[in-house]
């Protein structure tokens, strides 16, 4: 596969065909991710987890993915305890790490850190989140969730709800939806809309984008309701925050007029954006979405590393 040996830093590094290949492979990985079947294309290979910022679910799903593929992991999970504390640069740390593993998965608080890591490393680097920047595997698993539910990524009507300004996951997701020709409906409070820069780029791609701040109206014809967290820190005062957060809360009444097949997605962890009563409806897709992180990351790791056996 063309992804062999490549860095994956941004979803924009991947073509539509490459994304399709990863998603197709991810579907085949599901029984292996569940532990029902066994495979080990990464036999004898080591993947370094360089997590310079706390992240339980992303790190664990990557570690699970590596191990389900028969590989093993070495992990920096606590930046404070690592050499970074002694003032070693990220560049040097990654340079060193690239001598210990066949690939590096990095999470770091600074934007652009993953590209720097890719330059420092002569092994492939996968970005697992660089500050407010990119997080391409999140987008891949979001797409996998939609594709599993609808068997297509084209012609869907996807509502992006909540903080569209700072939420990095929605920027990459919007790009991918535009790439596949799905319709994007933006539903955000006035101060948390999509940045102009992102909007311009999407329009340039010929994306179908509309805005519908009213949640009830946005939900009516939607196939996907993608909910993001609205963070308290984004508001100057607490009462503004509570008003906005309250008007974007998903519960049974919001979903009453929804299409029967509507799915509700959320990158998790949620903080009150989705009422627990939604969990038991057929609309709830967020736990499936969290599970799909493993087969999707397996598919990506396999594409980047598979067949790259030592001496072969």
């Amino acid at each position: 596969m063309s992804l062999h040996g490549r860095d994956v830093i941004s979803i924009r590094d991947l073509s539509r065909e490459e994304i399709e290949e990863i998603l197709a492979s991810s579907r085949k990985m599901v029984p292996y991710a569940e532990g029902k079947k066994v495979t080990h294309p990464l036999d004898d290979q080591i993947v370094a987890m360089a997590f310079f910022e706390p992240s339980t679910r992303t790190r664990l799903s990557f570690e699970s993915a590596v191990q389900r593929l028969g590989g093993s992991c070495i992990t920096i999970a606590d930046a404070a305890a690592s050499s970074m504390r002694k003032g070693e640069s990220l560049y040097d740390t990654i340079r060193m790490l690239s001598g210990y593993a066949e690939a590096i998965v990095i999470r770091h608080p600074n934007e652009g850190s993953a590209r720097l890591a890719a330059r420092a490393s002569d092994r492939p680097v996968i970005n697992a989140g660089d500050g407010a920047g990119q997080h391409p595997t999140q987008t891949l698993l979001d797409l996998a969730t939609m594709q599993e539910a609808f068997d297509t990524l084209s012609g869907l009507r996807v509502v992006l709800l909540g903080d569209l300004k700072y939420g990095r996951t929605v920027h990459s997701l919007a790009h991918a939806l535009a790439l596949f020709g799905s319709e994007i409906v933006l539903s955000a409070p006035p101060t948390l809309g999509l940045p102009d820069e992102v909007l311009e780029r999407l329009e340039h791609m010929g994306a179908k984008i509309t805005a519908e701040p009213d949640l009830h109206k946005a939900v009516r014809d939607a196939d996907v309701l993608y909910v993001t967290r609205i963070q308290k820190e984004r508001f100057p005062d607490e009462s503004d925050y509570r008003k906005v957060a309250g008007s974007y809360r998903i519960d049974a009444s919001v979903l009453r007029d929804a299409k029967p097949r509507l799915i509700v997605m959320h990158p998790l962890p949620r903080a009150g954006e989705i009422a627990p009563e939604v969990d038991d409806t057929p609309h709830a897709a967020y736990f499936r979405q969290a599970f799909l992180a493993v087969p999707v990351r397996m598919a990506l790791l396999n594409a980047v590393l598979g067949g790259a056996k030592k001496g072969g």
Binding site: L90, Y91, H108, E111, G112, S113, R115, L116, D130
Partner: protein, 153 residues
């Protein structure tokens, strides 16, 4: 022409002409005159009449040739400037300040959280994504930059 030359003819050096009026001092900052020979004369003309621009600034520096980096920095803030190399009082070579596709080490990324603003052993790097007007994009964090004066490294 003769009126321009009244500034100070130089034997050997560089003339940066057609600088957007008002930016001569910024060009001097890019040149970093502290780094020049102590006996190099630097003359500056601000608000000179010019057919092309209405008004322009001119900077003339003795015994100096600009590094490609400095030329890039000048191109970013005043893209219509011309650079003439003077040898033995004559214009040896004259060229416009063309921007390359990548700008390395000239600007700071305006994103304070960009990894290039951390103590890392790398230089800033921008891709020129548009030329009229110039828009750059950080090769690390993707931040777009369309005003350069305040970001000169």
């Amino acid at each position: 022409m003769v009126r321009e030359l009244k500034i100070t003819p130089i034997k050997n050096g560089t003339v940066i002409d057609h600088i957007t009026s008002g930016l001569a001092l910024d060009v001097l900052r890019i040149i970093n005159i502290q780094s020049l020979d102590k006996d190099s004369t630097v003359s500056v003309a601000i608000r000179v009449r010019s057919g092309k621009l209405g008004w322009k600034d001119i900077v003339k520096v003795e015994n100096m040739e600009l590094s490609p980096r400095k030329v890039n920095a000048i191109a970013l803030i005043t893209p219509r400037a011309t650079i003439s190399i003077i040898r033995d009082f004559k214009v040896q070579e004259k060229r416009t300040v063309d921007l390359p596709d990548r700008i390395i080490g000239v600007l700071r990324c305006p994103n304070p959280n960009c990894i290039t603003n951390q103590p890392e052993p790398v230089e800033s790097e921008f891709e020129v994504t548009e030329r009229h007007p110039v828009i750059l994009q950080c090769a690390y964090c993707d931040r777009r930059v369309d005003s350069f004066l305040s970001q000169l490294a």
